[in-house]
Protein backbone atom coordinates (compact mmCIF):
# COMPACT_ATOMS: atom_id res chain seq x y z
CA UNK A 1 0.00 0.00 0.00
CA UNK A 2 1.64 3.29 -1.04
CA UNK A 3 1.98 6.06 1.55
CA UNK A 4 1.91 9.73 0.61
CA UNK A 5 2.43 12.85 2.73
CA UNK A 6 0.56 16.10 2.93
CA UNK A 7 2.49 19.08 4.30
CA UNK A 8 0.33 21.74 5.98
CA UNK A 9 1.14 25.45 5.57
CA UNK A 10 2.59 25.37 9.12
CA UNK A 11 5.04 22.67 7.89
CA UNK A 12 3.39 19.87 9.83
CA UNK A 13 3.28 16.66 7.81
CA UNK A 14 0.61 13.97 7.75
CA UNK A 15 1.26 10.57 6.24
CA UNK A 16 -1.66 8.84 4.59
CA UNK A 17 -1.96 5.26 3.37
CA UNK A 18 -3.58 4.98 -0.02
CA UNK A 19 -5.86 2.10 -0.99
CA UNK A 20 -5.84 0.48 -4.39
CA UNK A 21 -7.08 2.78 -7.13
CA UNK A 22 -7.59 5.84 -4.93
CA UNK A 23 -6.71 9.39 -5.86
CA UNK A 24 -4.64 11.53 -3.50
CA UNK A 25 -7.85 13.47 -2.72
CA UNK A 26 -9.80 10.31 -1.84
CA UNK A 27 -7.06 9.12 0.48
CA UNK A 28 -6.97 12.53 2.17
CA UNK A 29 -10.72 12.78 2.71
CA UNK A 30 -10.98 9.18 3.90
CA UNK A 31 -8.41 10.00 6.59
CA UNK A 32 -10.26 13.18 7.55
CA UNK A 33 -7.35 15.40 6.58
CA UNK A 34 -7.97 19.14 6.99
CA UNK A 35 -6.96 21.30 4.07
CA UNK A 36 -8.58 19.32 1.24
CA UNK A 37 -12.26 20.22 0.76
CA UNK A 38 -13.09 18.35 -2.46
CA UNK A 39 -16.52 19.95 -2.76
CA UNK A 40 -17.29 18.26 -6.07
CA UNK A 41 -16.28 14.83 -4.81
CA UNK A 42 -13.50 14.33 -7.35
CA UNK A 43 -15.29 15.27 -10.56
CA UNK A 44 -12.76 17.95 -11.54
CA UNK A 45 -15.36 20.69 -11.18
CA UNK A 46 -14.52 22.70 -8.05
CA UNK A 47 -10.76 23.31 -7.58
CA UNK A 48 -11.04 22.87 -3.79
CA UNK A 49 -8.59 19.94 -3.70
CA UNK A 50 -5.64 22.09 -4.84
CA UNK A 51 -2.10 20.96 -3.87
CA UNK A 52 1.48 21.98 -4.67
CA UNK A 53 3.51 18.97 -5.73
CA UNK A 54 6.94 18.74 -4.12
CA UNK A 55 9.62 19.71 -6.65
CA UNK A 56 11.22 16.29 -6.58
CA UNK A 57 7.94 14.74 -7.77
CA UNK A 58 6.54 17.18 -10.32
CA UNK A 59 8.05 15.52 -13.37
CA UNK A 60 7.04 12.06 -12.21
CA UNK A 61 3.29 12.73 -12.35
CA UNK A 62 1.27 12.14 -15.52
CA UNK A 63 0.52 15.37 -17.40
CA UNK A 64 -2.69 17.19 -16.59
CA UNK A 65 -5.81 17.29 -18.78
CA UNK A 66 -7.21 20.50 -20.21
CA UNK A 67 -10.08 20.75 -17.70
CA UNK A 68 -7.70 20.48 -14.74
CA UNK A 69 -5.51 23.18 -16.22
CA UNK A 70 -8.50 25.51 -16.71
CA UNK A 71 -9.86 24.89 -13.19
CA UNK A 72 -6.54 25.60 -11.52
CA UNK A 73 -6.73 29.14 -12.92
CA UNK A 74 -9.62 29.73 -10.54
CA UNK A 75 -8.13 28.08 -7.45
CA UNK A 76 -8.49 30.21 -4.30
CA UNK A 77 -4.77 30.17 -3.47
CA UNK A 78 -2.10 31.31 -5.91
CA UNK A 79 -1.49 29.00 -8.84
CA UNK A 80 2.16 27.97 -9.10
CA UNK A 81 3.96 25.88 -11.75
CA UNK A 82 3.66 22.83 -9.43
CA UNK A 83 -0.09 23.28 -8.77
CA UNK A 84 -2.32 20.24 -9.32
CA UNK A 85 -5.80 19.04 -8.35
CA UNK A 86 -5.33 16.14 -5.97
CA UNK A 87 -8.49 14.39 -7.24
CA UNK A 88 -6.77 14.01 -10.59
CA UNK A 89 -3.64 12.36 -9.13
CA UNK A 90 -4.28 8.65 -9.12
CA UNK A 91 -1.84 6.95 -6.76
CA UNK A 92 0.09 4.07 -8.29
CA UNK A 93 2.84 2.03 -6.55
CA UNK A 94 5.46 4.22 -8.31
CA UNK A 95 4.12 7.22 -6.41
CA UNK A 96 4.89 5.70 -2.99
CA UNK A 97 6.43 8.52 -0.93
CA UNK A 98 4.80 11.36 -2.91
CA UNK A 99 4.90 14.70 -1.07
CA UNK A 100 2.05 17.21 -1.58
CA UNK A 101 1.98 20.66 0.00
CA UNK A 102 -1.36 22.18 1.02
CA UNK A 103 -2.26 25.75 0.06
CA UNK A 104 -3.39 28.28 2.69
CA UNK A 105 -6.96 28.20 1.44
CA UNK A 106 -9.27 26.19 -0.81
CA UNK A 107 -12.14 28.68 -1.13
Amino acid sequence: MPTISFVHPDSNSEHVEVSDGESAMQAATRHGLDGILAECGGNAMCATCHVYVDDAWVARLPAMAEDEDALLEGAAAERLPNSRLSCQIKITPELDGLVLRLPKRQV
Partner: protein, 402 residues
Amino acid sequence: MSASGSVASGVPHLDVDPFAMGFFADPYPTHERLREAGPVVYLDQWNVYGVARYAEVHAVLNDPATFCSSRGVGLSDFKKETPWRPPSLILEADPPAHTRTRAVLSKVLSPTVMKQVRDRFAAAAEERVDVLLEQRSFDAVADLAEAYPLSIFPDALGLKPEGREHLIPYASVVFNAFGPPNELRQEAIARSAPHQAYVAKQCQRENLAPGGFGACIHAQVDEGAITATEAPLLVRSLLSAGLDTTVNGIGAALYCLARFPEQWQRLRADITLARNAFEEAVRFESPVQTFFRTTTREVELSGARIGEGEKVLMFLAAANRDPRRWERPDSYDITRRTSGHVGFGSGIHMCVGQLVARLEGEVMLTALARRVASIEITGEPKRRFNNTLRGLDSLPVTIIPA
Protein backbone atom coordinates in the same frame (compact mmCIF):
# COMPACT_ATOMS: atom_id res chain seq x y z
CA MET B 1 -50.27 -6.16 -13.47
CA SER B 2 -48.85 -4.39 -16.48
CA ALA B 3 -45.13 -4.59 -15.72
CA SER B 4 -43.05 -5.23 -18.81
CA GLY B 5 -41.82 -8.76 -19.47
CA SER B 6 -38.19 -7.88 -18.78
CA VAL B 7 -38.66 -7.38 -15.04
CA ALA B 8 -35.84 -9.24 -13.35
CA SER B 9 -36.63 -12.01 -10.95
CA GLY B 10 -35.38 -11.35 -7.48
CA VAL B 11 -35.89 -7.61 -7.75
CA PRO B 12 -38.39 -6.60 -5.06
CA HIS B 13 -41.56 -4.94 -6.34
CA LEU B 14 -42.85 -2.02 -4.29
CA ASP B 15 -46.21 -0.34 -4.57
CA VAL B 16 -44.99 3.12 -3.50
CA ASP B 17 -45.64 6.22 -5.59
CA PRO B 18 -42.71 8.61 -5.08
CA PHE B 19 -44.64 11.36 -6.89
CA ALA B 20 -47.74 11.36 -4.69
CA MET B 21 -48.67 14.17 -2.29
CA GLY B 22 -48.61 11.81 0.68
CA PHE B 23 -45.06 10.83 -0.18
CA PHE B 24 -43.90 14.44 -0.54
CA ALA B 25 -45.36 15.31 2.86
CA ASP B 26 -42.95 12.85 4.54
CA PRO B 27 -40.68 10.93 2.16
CA TYR B 28 -38.29 9.58 4.79
CA PRO B 29 -40.06 6.36 5.86
CA THR B 30 -40.51 5.45 2.19
CA HIS B 31 -36.87 6.27 1.41
CA GLU B 32 -35.89 3.84 4.12
CA ARG B 33 -38.23 1.19 2.75
CA LEU B 34 -36.76 1.64 -0.72
CA ARG B 35 -33.18 1.39 0.58
CA GLU B 36 -33.85 -1.62 2.76
CA ALA B 37 -35.88 -3.56 0.15
CA GLY B 38 -32.73 -4.16 -1.93
CA PRO B 39 -30.01 -2.50 -4.00
CA VAL B 40 -32.38 -2.30 -6.98
CA VAL B 41 -36.19 -2.20 -6.72
CA TYR B 42 -39.09 -2.07 -9.16
CA LEU B 43 -41.90 0.43 -8.81
CA ASP B 44 -45.08 -1.08 -10.23
CA GLN B 45 -46.93 2.22 -10.15
CA TRP B 46 -44.82 3.67 -12.99
CA ASN B 47 -43.04 0.57 -14.34
CA VAL B 48 -39.56 1.79 -13.54
CA TYR B 49 -36.55 0.49 -11.68
CA GLY B 50 -35.38 2.44 -8.67
CA VAL B 51 -32.10 2.83 -6.77
CA ALA B 52 -32.05 4.46 -3.34
CA ARG B 53 -28.76 3.31 -1.79
CA TYR B 54 -25.69 5.52 -2.13
CA ALA B 55 -23.53 2.91 -3.89
CA GLU B 56 -26.03 2.19 -6.66
CA VAL B 57 -27.04 5.83 -7.17
CA HIS B 58 -23.36 6.74 -7.47
CA ALA B 59 -22.72 3.82 -9.85
CA VAL B 60 -25.62 4.74 -12.16
CA LEU B 61 -24.57 8.41 -12.22
CA ASN B 62 -21.05 7.41 -13.16
CA ASP B 63 -21.89 5.03 -16.04
CA PRO B 64 -23.46 7.35 -18.60
CA ALA B 65 -22.75 4.94 -21.49
CA THR B 66 -25.14 2.38 -19.95
CA PHE B 67 -27.49 4.75 -18.13
CA CYS B 68 -28.03 7.50 -20.67
CA SER B 69 -29.60 10.95 -20.43
CA SER B 70 -30.51 11.53 -24.09
CA ARG B 71 -33.77 9.60 -23.71
CA GLY B 72 -34.80 12.08 -21.02
CA VAL B 73 -33.98 12.42 -17.33
CA GLY B 74 -37.67 12.33 -16.42
CA LEU B 75 -40.11 9.43 -16.70
CA SER B 76 -40.93 10.20 -20.33
CA ASP B 77 -38.80 8.18 -22.80
CA PHE B 78 -37.86 10.50 -25.67
CA LYS B 79 -37.54 7.47 -27.93
CA LYS B 80 -41.23 6.70 -27.46
CA GLU B 81 -42.79 10.07 -26.66
CA THR B 82 -42.33 13.56 -28.03
CA PRO B 83 -40.69 15.74 -25.33
CA TRP B 84 -42.88 18.57 -24.00
CA ARG B 85 -40.21 21.08 -25.09
CA PRO B 86 -37.09 20.79 -27.30
CA PRO B 87 -34.65 18.69 -25.23
CA SER B 88 -31.84 20.36 -23.31
CA LEU B 89 -28.50 20.27 -25.15
CA ILE B 90 -26.65 19.48 -21.96
CA LEU B 91 -28.90 17.82 -19.35
CA GLU B 92 -30.64 15.59 -21.89
CA ALA B 93 -27.58 14.79 -24.01
CA ASP B 94 -24.91 12.08 -24.03
CA PRO B 95 -21.24 12.23 -25.04
CA PRO B 96 -19.86 13.30 -27.44
CA ALA B 97 -22.60 15.94 -27.90
CA HIS B 98 -22.70 16.58 -24.14
CA THR B 99 -18.93 16.98 -23.88
CA ARG B 100 -18.97 19.98 -26.21
CA THR B 101 -21.88 21.88 -24.65
CA ARG B 102 -20.72 21.06 -21.15
CA ALA B 103 -17.30 22.59 -21.87
CA VAL B 104 -19.03 25.85 -22.81
CA LEU B 105 -21.11 26.11 -19.62
CA SER B 106 -18.16 25.01 -17.46
CA LYS B 107 -16.18 27.90 -18.86
CA VAL B 108 -19.00 30.41 -18.36
CA LEU B 109 -19.51 29.31 -14.70
CA SER B 110 -15.87 28.56 -13.80
CA PRO B 111 -14.10 29.27 -10.48
CA THR B 112 -12.39 32.21 -12.21
CA VAL B 113 -15.76 33.75 -13.06
CA MET B 114 -16.97 33.16 -9.49
CA LYS B 115 -14.08 35.28 -8.19
CA GLN B 116 -15.33 38.12 -10.40
CA VAL B 117 -18.94 38.00 -9.17
CA ARG B 118 -18.20 37.22 -5.51
CA ASP B 119 -18.12 40.81 -4.22
CA ARG B 120 -21.35 41.68 -5.98
CA PHE B 121 -23.14 38.60 -4.61
CA ALA B 122 -21.83 39.31 -1.10
CA ALA B 123 -22.90 42.97 -1.18
CA ALA B 124 -26.42 41.96 -2.25
CA ALA B 125 -26.59 39.49 0.64
CA GLU B 126 -25.67 42.27 3.10
CA GLU B 127 -28.37 44.50 1.59
CA ARG B 128 -30.94 41.75 1.96
CA VAL B 129 -30.02 41.32 5.63
CA ASP B 130 -30.35 45.12 6.13
CA VAL B 131 -33.95 44.89 4.94
CA LEU B 132 -34.72 41.79 7.01
CA LEU B 133 -33.32 43.36 10.18
CA GLU B 134 -35.76 46.24 9.67
CA GLN B 135 -38.65 43.82 9.22
CA ARG B 136 -37.70 41.44 12.06
CA SER B 137 -40.65 39.15 11.25
CA PHE B 138 -40.95 37.90 7.67
CA ASP B 139 -41.44 34.89 5.40
CA ALA B 140 -38.03 33.24 5.02
CA VAL B 141 -39.08 31.77 1.67
CA ALA B 142 -40.47 34.82 -0.15
CA ASP B 143 -38.40 37.51 1.56
CA LEU B 144 -35.09 35.65 1.73
CA ALA B 145 -34.77 32.35 -0.16
CA GLU B 146 -36.50 33.83 -3.23
CA ALA B 147 -35.70 37.51 -2.84
CA TYR B 148 -31.93 37.04 -2.60
CA PRO B 149 -31.31 34.90 -5.72
CA LEU B 150 -33.81 37.08 -7.62
CA SER B 151 -31.73 40.14 -6.67
CA ILE B 152 -28.55 38.79 -8.26
CA PHE B 153 -28.99 35.83 -10.62
CA PRO B 154 -31.17 37.43 -13.33
CA ASP B 155 -28.73 40.37 -13.41
CA ALA B 156 -25.74 38.04 -13.54
CA LEU B 157 -27.36 36.34 -16.53
CA GLY B 158 -27.99 39.72 -18.15
CA LEU B 159 -31.80 39.52 -18.30
CA LYS B 160 -34.01 42.54 -18.94
CA PRO B 161 -35.91 43.82 -15.90
CA GLU B 162 -39.33 43.17 -17.48
CA GLY B 163 -40.97 39.77 -17.21
CA ARG B 164 -38.78 38.25 -14.50
CA GLU B 165 -41.90 37.12 -12.68
CA HIS B 166 -42.00 34.25 -15.22
CA LEU B 167 -38.71 32.76 -14.00
CA ILE B 168 -39.80 30.80 -10.94
CA PRO B 169 -43.06 29.58 -12.54
CA TYR B 170 -41.08 28.42 -15.61
CA ALA B 171 -38.62 26.47 -13.46
CA SER B 172 -41.52 24.94 -11.57
CA VAL B 173 -42.91 23.63 -14.88
CA VAL B 174 -39.52 22.24 -15.92
CA PHE B 175 -39.04 20.33 -12.67
CA ASN B 176 -42.65 19.09 -12.53
CA ALA B 177 -42.30 17.83 -16.10
CA PHE B 178 -39.59 15.31 -15.10
CA GLY B 179 -42.28 13.50 -13.14
CA PRO B 180 -44.94 11.07 -14.31
CA PRO B 181 -48.16 12.24 -16.01
CA ASN B 182 -49.84 13.10 -12.70
CA GLU B 183 -51.86 16.19 -11.92
CA LEU B 184 -48.76 18.20 -10.99
CA ARG B 185 -47.16 17.58 -14.37
CA GLN B 186 -50.29 17.93 -16.51
CA GLU B 187 -51.35 21.18 -14.88
CA ALA B 188 -47.85 22.61 -15.04
CA ILE B 189 -47.54 21.94 -18.76
CA ALA B 190 -51.08 23.17 -19.43
CA ARG B 191 -50.25 26.62 -18.02
CA SER B 192 -46.70 26.79 -19.37
CA ALA B 193 -47.23 28.65 -22.68
CA PRO B 194 -46.68 32.24 -21.45
CA HIS B 195 -43.62 31.21 -19.42
CA GLN B 196 -42.15 29.34 -22.39
CA ALA B 197 -42.73 32.33 -24.65
CA TYR B 198 -40.94 34.63 -22.20
CA VAL B 199 -37.99 32.27 -21.80
CA ALA B 200 -37.59 31.65 -25.55
CA LYS B 201 -37.39 35.39 -26.15
CA GLN B 202 -34.91 36.14 -23.35
CA CYS B 203 -32.50 33.49 -24.64
CA GLN B 204 -31.88 35.46 -27.82
CA ARG B 205 -28.56 37.25 -28.07
CA GLU B 206 -30.02 40.74 -28.48
CA ASN B 207 -31.95 40.41 -25.20
CA LEU B 208 -28.93 39.59 -23.02
CA ALA B 209 -26.82 42.35 -21.50
CA PRO B 210 -23.10 42.40 -22.35
CA GLY B 211 -20.83 40.78 -19.77
CA GLY B 212 -23.51 38.49 -18.32
CA PHE B 213 -23.50 34.69 -18.31
CA GLY B 214 -25.97 34.70 -21.23
CA ALA B 215 -23.80 36.96 -23.41
CA CYS B 216 -20.76 34.82 -22.54
CA ILE B 217 -22.58 31.76 -23.88
CA HIS B 218 -23.39 33.57 -27.12
CA ALA B 219 -19.77 34.73 -27.39
CA GLN B 220 -18.80 31.05 -27.66
CA VAL B 221 -20.54 31.04 -31.06
CA ASP B 222 -17.86 33.45 -32.31
CA GLU B 223 -15.20 31.08 -30.97
CA GLY B 224 -16.71 28.26 -33.01
CA ALA B 225 -17.48 26.18 -29.91
CA ILE B 226 -21.26 26.10 -30.54
CA THR B 227 -23.63 27.19 -33.29
CA ALA B 228 -25.93 30.21 -33.24
CA THR B 229 -28.95 27.92 -32.93
CA GLU B 230 -27.44 26.07 -29.95
CA ALA B 231 -26.59 29.16 -27.90
CA PRO B 232 -30.18 30.15 -26.97
CA LEU B 233 -30.92 26.61 -25.78
CA LEU B 234 -27.86 26.66 -23.53
CA VAL B 235 -28.98 29.98 -22.06
CA ARG B 236 -32.32 28.28 -21.46
CA SER B 237 -30.54 25.69 -19.30
CA LEU B 238 -29.44 28.43 -16.91
CA LEU B 239 -32.93 29.91 -16.84
CA SER B 240 -34.41 26.49 -16.09
CA ALA B 241 -31.93 25.22 -13.54
CA GLY B 242 -30.22 28.26 -12.08
CA LEU B 243 -32.84 29.99 -9.96
CA ASP B 244 -35.48 27.77 -8.39
CA THR B 245 -32.76 25.29 -7.37
CA THR B 246 -30.87 27.87 -5.34
CA VAL B 247 -34.15 29.22 -3.93
CA ASN B 248 -34.79 25.74 -2.55
CA GLY B 249 -31.15 25.31 -1.53
CA ILE B 250 -31.05 28.54 0.46
CA GLY B 251 -34.53 27.78 1.81
CA ALA B 252 -33.28 24.38 2.95
CA ALA B 253 -30.33 25.93 4.76
CA LEU B 254 -32.57 28.42 6.58
CA TYR B 255 -35.09 25.78 7.51
CA CYS B 256 -32.26 23.64 8.95
CA LEU B 257 -30.61 26.48 10.86
CA ALA B 258 -33.95 27.64 12.26
CA ARG B 259 -34.93 24.11 13.34
CA PHE B 260 -31.54 23.26 14.88
CA PRO B 261 -30.54 26.32 16.95
CA GLU B 262 -27.38 24.63 18.30
CA GLN B 263 -26.11 24.47 14.70
CA TRP B 264 -26.94 28.14 14.27
CA GLN B 265 -24.90 28.97 17.36
CA ARG B 266 -22.01 26.89 16.05
CA LEU B 267 -22.11 28.83 12.82
CA ARG B 268 -22.15 32.13 14.69
CA ALA B 269 -19.12 31.02 16.70
CA ASP B 270 -17.20 30.16 13.52
CA ILE B 271 -18.46 31.97 10.46
CA THR B 272 -16.02 30.12 8.19
CA LEU B 273 -18.46 27.19 8.49
CA ALA B 274 -21.05 29.07 6.40
CA ARG B 275 -20.12 27.37 3.15
CA ASN B 276 -20.27 23.90 4.66
CA ALA B 277 -23.52 24.73 6.47
CA PHE B 278 -25.03 25.35 3.04
CA GLU B 279 -23.48 22.21 1.54
CA GLU B 280 -24.76 20.09 4.42
CA ALA B 281 -28.26 21.51 3.85
CA VAL B 282 -28.03 20.39 0.22
CA ARG B 283 -27.17 16.89 1.45
CA PHE B 284 -29.74 16.87 4.23
CA GLU B 285 -32.73 18.25 2.29
CA SER B 286 -31.65 17.42 -1.29
CA PRO B 287 -33.56 20.23 -3.05
CA VAL B 288 -33.33 18.15 -6.26
CA GLN B 289 -34.78 14.84 -5.10
CA THR B 290 -34.63 12.56 -8.13
CA PHE B 291 -33.57 12.12 -11.73
CA PHE B 292 -34.07 9.25 -14.20
CA ARG B 293 -31.76 7.51 -16.63
CA THR B 294 -32.57 5.06 -19.47
CA THR B 295 -30.58 1.86 -20.09
CA THR B 296 -28.84 1.61 -23.46
CA ARG B 297 -28.30 -2.16 -23.14
CA GLU B 298 -29.08 -5.06 -20.88
CA VAL B 299 -27.05 -4.60 -17.71
CA GLU B 300 -26.48 -6.26 -14.37
CA LEU B 301 -26.53 -3.88 -11.43
CA SER B 302 -25.72 -5.28 -7.98
CA GLY B 303 -27.14 -8.65 -9.00
CA ALA B 304 -30.25 -7.32 -10.73
CA ARG B 305 -30.60 -7.83 -14.47
CA ILE B 306 -32.14 -4.81 -16.19
CA GLY B 307 -33.15 -4.94 -19.84
CA GLU B 308 -32.43 -2.39 -22.56
CA GLY B 309 -34.65 0.71 -22.74
CA GLU B 310 -35.71 0.64 -19.08
CA LYS B 311 -36.12 3.75 -16.98
CA VAL B 312 -34.12 3.84 -13.73
CA LEU B 313 -35.14 6.35 -11.04
CA MET B 314 -32.28 7.59 -8.85
CA PHE B 315 -33.31 8.72 -5.37
CA LEU B 316 -30.57 11.30 -4.72
CA ALA B 317 -32.19 12.30 -1.42
CA ALA B 318 -32.29 8.71 -0.15
CA ALA B 319 -28.64 8.16 -1.14
CA ASN B 320 -27.71 11.30 0.79
CA ARG B 321 -29.09 9.71 3.96
CA ASP B 322 -28.01 6.13 3.36
CA PRO B 323 -26.58 4.82 6.68
CA ARG B 324 -24.25 2.59 4.61
CA ARG B 325 -22.44 5.75 3.56
CA TRP B 326 -23.15 8.40 6.23
CA GLU B 327 -22.74 8.46 9.98
CA ARG B 328 -25.85 9.80 11.74
CA PRO B 329 -27.43 10.44 8.33
CA ASP B 330 -30.54 12.10 9.77
CA SER B 331 -28.59 14.78 11.69
CA TYR B 332 -27.89 18.18 10.20
CA ASP B 333 -24.25 18.76 11.18
CA ILE B 334 -22.50 21.82 9.74
CA THR B 335 -19.07 20.36 10.51
CA ARG B 336 -19.75 17.14 8.60
CA ARG B 337 -17.37 16.14 5.80
CA THR B 338 -19.92 16.50 3.02
CA SER B 339 -17.64 15.64 0.09
CA GLY B 340 -19.22 12.88 -1.99
CA HIS B 341 -22.91 13.71 -1.42
CA VAL B 342 -25.02 13.46 -4.57
CA GLY B 343 -27.27 16.51 -4.02
CA PHE B 344 -25.59 18.04 -7.09
CA GLY B 345 -25.36 14.66 -8.84
CA SER B 346 -22.03 13.05 -9.73
CA GLY B 347 -20.08 12.22 -12.87
CA ILE B 348 -20.28 14.00 -16.21
CA HIS B 349 -23.68 15.64 -15.56
CA MET B 350 -22.84 16.81 -12.04
CA CYS B 351 -24.34 20.26 -11.61
CA VAL B 352 -22.51 22.76 -13.79
CA GLY B 353 -23.89 25.58 -11.62
CA GLN B 354 -22.66 24.15 -8.31
CA LEU B 355 -20.15 26.96 -7.83
CA VAL B 356 -22.87 29.57 -8.29
CA ALA B 357 -25.09 27.77 -5.79
CA ARG B 358 -22.31 27.48 -3.18
CA LEU B 359 -21.31 31.10 -3.60
CA GLU B 360 -24.89 32.29 -3.05
CA GLY B 361 -25.33 30.00 -0.06
CA GLU B 362 -22.02 30.95 1.52
CA VAL B 363 -22.37 34.73 1.26
CA MET B 364 -26.01 34.68 2.39
CA LEU B 365 -25.33 32.54 5.47
CA THR B 366 -22.21 34.58 6.27
CA ALA B 367 -24.15 37.85 6.20
CA LEU B 368 -26.89 36.40 8.39
CA ALA B 369 -24.61 34.73 10.92
CA ARG B 370 -22.61 37.92 11.43
CA ARG B 371 -25.64 40.05 12.24
CA VAL B 372 -28.43 37.82 13.51
CA ALA B 373 -28.37 36.32 17.02
CA SER B 374 -31.26 33.90 16.56
CA ILE B 375 -33.91 32.73 14.11
CA GLU B 376 -37.22 31.56 15.51
CA ILE B 377 -39.94 29.78 13.55
CA THR B 378 -43.19 31.60 14.41
CA GLY B 379 -45.79 29.71 12.38
CA GLU B 380 -46.46 26.41 10.66
CA PRO B 381 -44.10 26.04 7.65
CA LYS B 382 -46.00 25.25 4.44
CA ARG B 383 -44.61 22.81 1.90
CA ARG B 384 -44.46 23.47 -1.86
CA PHE B 385 -45.22 20.42 -3.98
CA ASN B 386 -43.19 19.61 -7.09
CA ASN B 387 -42.36 16.31 -8.80
CA THR B 388 -38.60 16.91 -8.51
CA LEU B 389 -37.88 19.83 -6.20
CA ARG B 390 -38.25 19.69 -2.43
CA GLY B 391 -38.78 22.92 -0.54
CA LEU B 392 -41.13 25.14 1.37
CA ASP B 393 -43.83 27.52 0.20
CA SER B 394 -43.59 29.65 3.33
CA LEU B 395 -41.57 29.73 6.55
CA PRO B 396 -42.66 32.44 8.99
CA VAL B 397 -39.73 33.54 11.18
CA THR B 398 -38.64 36.26 13.57
CA ILE B 399 -34.98 37.23 13.87
CA ILE B 400 -33.21 38.89 16.77
CA PRO B 401 -30.31 41.20 15.83
CA ALA B 402 -26.87 40.30 17.17
